[in-house]
């Protein structure tokens, strides 16, 4: 039985169609990459799955499912008097050290305030926050700019490791096609409408990518055996 099944999902903001007739499903252990240009409805899709955006159609989550959500950004005021330990305890009080260890942060971070963290550290804490609730489905919205490229790669390695360890279903929004080939076994291409869905090797053809990003897209995945 799938962990998540999305059928004919449409989302409108105001009068504008943000997502139109999206259908796909996800099993435990799947890693689904959602790709598409800016404004193609990627974040809206995650928010609809979360229940934060109104939608038409169906979003069927398996019963008793626990969701972990790592938002693209979180508007925290820098002087918010909340320590990492207290922040994690908002989700679960069990073993905060272990959750930090899982995202490669030292236990000394527990007593730092979340406002003191760098954007990369904050992202790791947000991942720790998501996994401390033992999710069955993890939604990861990639930050567009705040995290440097070197840092970014290790975050994906981290997600990959966590996914294998806990056998969770993962949906990750990505702007980087190498990430898709390396870490995802399914890919969903969005341009408000569903351009493609399937295994990356099969559906990410130059023709589909051109359709998704417009004709002059220079990026292809070359080094593929």
């Amino acid at each position: 039985m799938p962990v998540l099944e999305v059928k004919n999902l449409s989302v409108r903001y105001g009068g504008q169609v943000v997502l139109d007739d999206i259908s796909f499903d996800l099993e435990r252990g799947d890693a689904l990459a959602v790709i598409g240009p800016n404004g193609s409805g990627k974040t809206a899709l995650l928010r609809a799955i979360l229940g934060a955006a109104r939608y038409i159609g169906e979003v069927n989550l398996s019963p008793e499912i626990r969701i972990g959500y790592v938002p693209q950004k979180i508007d925290l005021e820098r002087d918010l008097p909340i320590t990492v330990k207290e922040f994690l305890a908002l989700r679960s009080r069990s073993a905060p050290e272990k959750a930090l260890e899982a995202v490669d942060l030292a236990p000394t971070f527990l007593n730092k305030r979340i406002g003191e963290l760098s954007s990369g550290e904050l992202q790791r804490v947000l991942i720790a926050w998501a996994i401390i609730g033992h999710p069955d489905l993890l939604l990861f919205d990639e930050p567009t700019a705040s995290v440097d490229v070197a840092g970014q790669r290790t975050v994906y390695e981290l997600l990959h490791k966590l996914q294998e360890e806990y056998n969770l279903a993962l949906i990750l929004i990505s702007h980087d096609l190498t990430v898709v080939y390396r870490y995802a076994n399914k890919v969903l291409c969005l341009n408000r409408q569903q351009v493609c869905f399937g295994a990356p090797d099969e559906v990410l053809t130059p023709a589909e990518l051109a359709k998704l990003y417009g004709g002059d897209r220079k990026f292809y995945h070359h080094a593929h055996p």
Partner: protein, 254 residues
């Protein structure tokens, strides 16, 4: 025996503690002015209470609950920012209150006077403050999370809309309880100033809430003492003292 003096201290102590605790949550999401504005929504209720001669707490409370539900409902229907709505409701209520409050009562309604509280007021203040603090502590995790990030709250299985409504209702109850003490005009200060001071110094959420409560209590006790010895009204005395502490705390900002 509870002498009137002791009653004033106890009521002031508890109201300030509840206000300080509520404020520490409200300031997690720049809701400082919501409190200021909400307190004015109570004015027409107070005026009606004076005119028709029933307990002011009930009049204020009824209007606050109605105002709160109105703000919440319109916010979710229109997606207008909550401070815009509160601004509109606030000036409306102030205008209505000013029109129907008898002139000689207007100062009391605006500035309050805890030295004039009745037996019923006293017990309402005690019970109200204790209920507020119990509710805040019970919902502390959920409120904190939905105030700092509704989406994270949703992912954890909470319902941020309902939590927001509950928080606003507790907010309204706090204003209703405190309004006798500092009056409508200064009610916001009871909620905002101790928390704002505490936020400058605190290094964790626990410290922040505890310190807000302590600062509220300290301000209330000193405000009442100052008003006894110098014959000032206790509301403004509280604000002056709490305000002074706030400015001192700026120098200790971490």
């Amino acid at each position: 025996m509870l002498t009137p003096e002791l009653q004033i201290f106890i009521a002031g102590f508890l109201i300030a503690a509840a206000g300080g605790m509520l404020g520490s949550f409200a300031l997690l999401r720049r809701m400082a002015l919501v409190g200021d504005a909400l307190s004015h929504v109570a004015l027409p209720g107070i005026a009606l209470g004076i005119l028709l001669n029933f307990n002011l707490f009930l009049g204020a409370g009824a209007f606050l609950v109605l105002g709160t539900l109105g703000i919440w409902a319109v916010e979710h229907k229109t997606k207008l920012p909550v401070d815009t709505l509160v601004g509109v409701f606030f000036t409306l209520a102030l205008a209505i209150g000013a029109l129907i409050t008898p002139e000689e009562e207007i100062l009391d309604a605006l500035f309050g006077d805890i030295t004039q509280i009745s037996q019923l007021d006293f017990w309402l203040a005690v019970a109200g403050s204790l209920v507020i603090m119990a509710l805040l502590l019970f919902f502390a995790r959920r409120f904190t999370l939905s105030l700092i990030s509704p989406d994270l709250a949703l992912s954890a299985g909470f319902r941020p809309h309902l939590l927001e409504l509950s928080f606003l209702l507790i907010f309204a109850l706090t204003v209703a309880v405190g309004i006798k003490f500092v009056g409508a005009l200064l009610m916001g200060s009871l909620i905002i100033i101790p928390a704002a001071t505490s936020r400058n110094i605190a290094r964790s959420m626990n410290q922040y809430i505890t310190l807000s409560v302590i600062l509220g209590i300290l301000g209330a006790i000193l405000g009442i003492l100052i008003s006894r010895f110098y014959g000032l009204p206790p509301g403004p005395a509280f604000v002056l003292f709490a305000g002074a502490l706030f400015f001192i705390s700026i120098f200790f900002r971490r």
